[in-house]
Symmetry: C2
Subunit: 217 residues, 2 copies
DNA sequence: GGCCGGATCAGGGGATACCCCGATGGTCCG
DNA sequence: CGGACCATCGGGGTATCCCCTGATCCGGCC
C-alpha cells in the first residue's frame, strides 16, 4: 500500500512540534498540529488522522484527557490510534497513559527513523514501547495477581481453614458455611478465629478485602 | 555484547521443537527442550535460560502453569523472560498468558528471523506481540476500569450515600463511619438501608464484593 | 402553600459476628 | 505413651448488623 500514515502532532512546545515534523520528513503525512487539549480534540475531529502523537504532559489535563474526551465523542472503532511521546519514563505516567487508551509510549529520546517505524506499527494496531517501559506495563498488568507475599500467610492455614476462609470471604454467613461443609456453626467459628489470628486480621470485612486484593475469590 | 541469548524451547510436539531449533539456527543458544510442565520447570531450574519459548497449550496445565510454579520457586529478579508461542490468537489465551507473567506472545505463523528478533527483544526486557494481538492486551488493561455499567446503579446513590457506601465497603463499622462523617450511627444505618436497597444487595458483605469488583475502594 | 426527596436522628428487636472458656476424638511422631 | 496439631463441638456473652416505624428540617418544584 502506498498510502502514507496520516499523523497529528500534539505538543505544547512549537519548537518540538517542528522538530518532530522535520524528523518525520515525507515518510508520513503530517495533517496537523495542536498545542493543548482543546486544539487536539478539535484537530482530531477535523483531520481524522490515523495516528496521534500525543505529549503526556499537556496543558489542560494531559494527553490522557485528550483520549478520554475523544473516546466519548468517537466510536472506538473509527478513532485514531494514540502514540504517547513523553520526556517522562515514570511508571505512573506510562500506566496512566495506557489505561487511558494509548497504543504505545515512547520517550523523546527516540530517533527519527525509530519514530517513523513506531508510528507505522501503531497505525497497524501493534503496541510500541521503549524497551525499558514495556516492563512497567506488563508488571502492572500481571502484578495485579500478587501471589508472592500471600503464600507466607496463606500457607499457615490448614486445609479446612482455607475452605472456611474462602466461603466467609465470599460473603457466606457462618450458618451457610456450616451447611455447605456439613459442620456445626461452632466449628466454623473456631476455624474463623484461627484464620483471623493467623492472618492478623480482626474481622470478616478485613478478610473479604484481604482475599479480594489477592483474587482468592 | 557477543553473548548469545540462552533459550529453552517448551512444546509438546517434538516435530515443532526441532523446527523451531533449526529456524533459530546459531542466532541464539538453545540450551534445552521440554515437552510438558514438569519438564519445563525442571529444565529452567537446571539450565537457567534467558528466554523460555513457551507453548500456551501445554499438557499439565498450560504454559501459564509453568510460569506460576517458577514464580514461587525463583525470585522474579533472576527468573527467565517468557515468550509465549501459540497457534491460538484467542483473546482469553493472550490475556491469561500475560497475566501469568509472559513478556510477549507471538503466533506460530511467525517466521524464523522474526522469532529471533522477538527473542532478542524479550531478553532485553521489551514486550513483543504479534500486531493483531497487542490490541487485546491493551484493551483488557484499559478496560479493567469498567465504568459503563456501574453508573446506572451508582448514579442512583446520593452524595452522602456514596460516602457511607465507600467506608462500609472498606470494612468500617457503622460506629466508625459515624465518627468519620460526624453523624449519628442511626443516620449511617438509614443511609446503608438506602444503599443496599438501591444496589439490590442484602448485606455489607455483598457490598464489599460489589465495590471491590468495580474498583471503588 | 403543598408535595417530594434528601439528610438527619431515635427506639426497639431479631439475627449475626466475634470472643471467651472448655471438651472430645483423631493422627502423627519421638 | 505423652505431646503436638487438627477438626469437631458446646455455653455464654457483648458488640454489631440490619430492619422496622416514625420523626424533624431543609430545599426545590408545580
Amino acid at each position: 500500500m502506498n498510502n502514507r500514515v496520516r499523523v497529528l502532532i500534539v505538543d505544547d512546545h512549537a519548537m518540538f512540534r517542528s522538530g518532530v515534523r522535520s524528523e518525520l520528513g515525507t515518510a508520513v503525512d503530517v495533517v496537523g498540529e495542536a498545542a493543548d487539549v482543546d486544539q487536539a480534540v478539535a484537530a482530531v475531529i477535523e483531520h481524522r488522522p490515523d495516528v496521534v502523537l500525543l505529549d503526556v504532559h499537556l496543558p489542560g489535563g494531559g494527553g490522557a484527557e485528550v483520549m478520554r474526551r475523544l473516546s466519548t465523542r468517537l466510536g472506538s472503532a473509527d478513532g485514531p490510534r494514540f502514540l504517547a511521546l513523553s520526556v517522562s519514563d515514570a511508571a505512573e505516567d506510562v500506566i496512566g497513559t495506557i489505561r487511558a487508551g494509548a497504543r504505545g509510549y515512547v520517550t523523546k529520546t527516540i530517533t527519527g527513523p525509530e519514530l517513523v517505524d513506531a508510528i507505522r506499527r501503531v497505525s497497524e494496531g501493534d503496541a510500541v514501547f521503549s524497551p525499558r517501559l514495556a516492563g512497567f506495563v506488563l508488571d502492572a498488568f500481571a502484578g495485579s495477581i500478587e501471589i508472592s507475599a500471600v503464600d507466607e500467610d496463606l500457607d499457615r492455614l490448614t486445609e479446612r481453614e482455607r475452605e472456611v476462609m474462602r466461603l466467609i470471604a465470599r460473603g457466606y454467613a457462618y450458618k451457610e458455611v456450616a451447611r455447605e461443609l456439613f459442620i456445626s456453626i461452632k466449628t466454623v467459628e473456631t476455624h474463623m478465629s484461627s484464620v483471623l489470628r493467623k492472618l492478623q486480621l480482626s474481622s470478616r470485612h478485613e478478610l473479604t478485602r484481604w482475599a479480594s486484593d489477592r483474587r482468592l475469590l
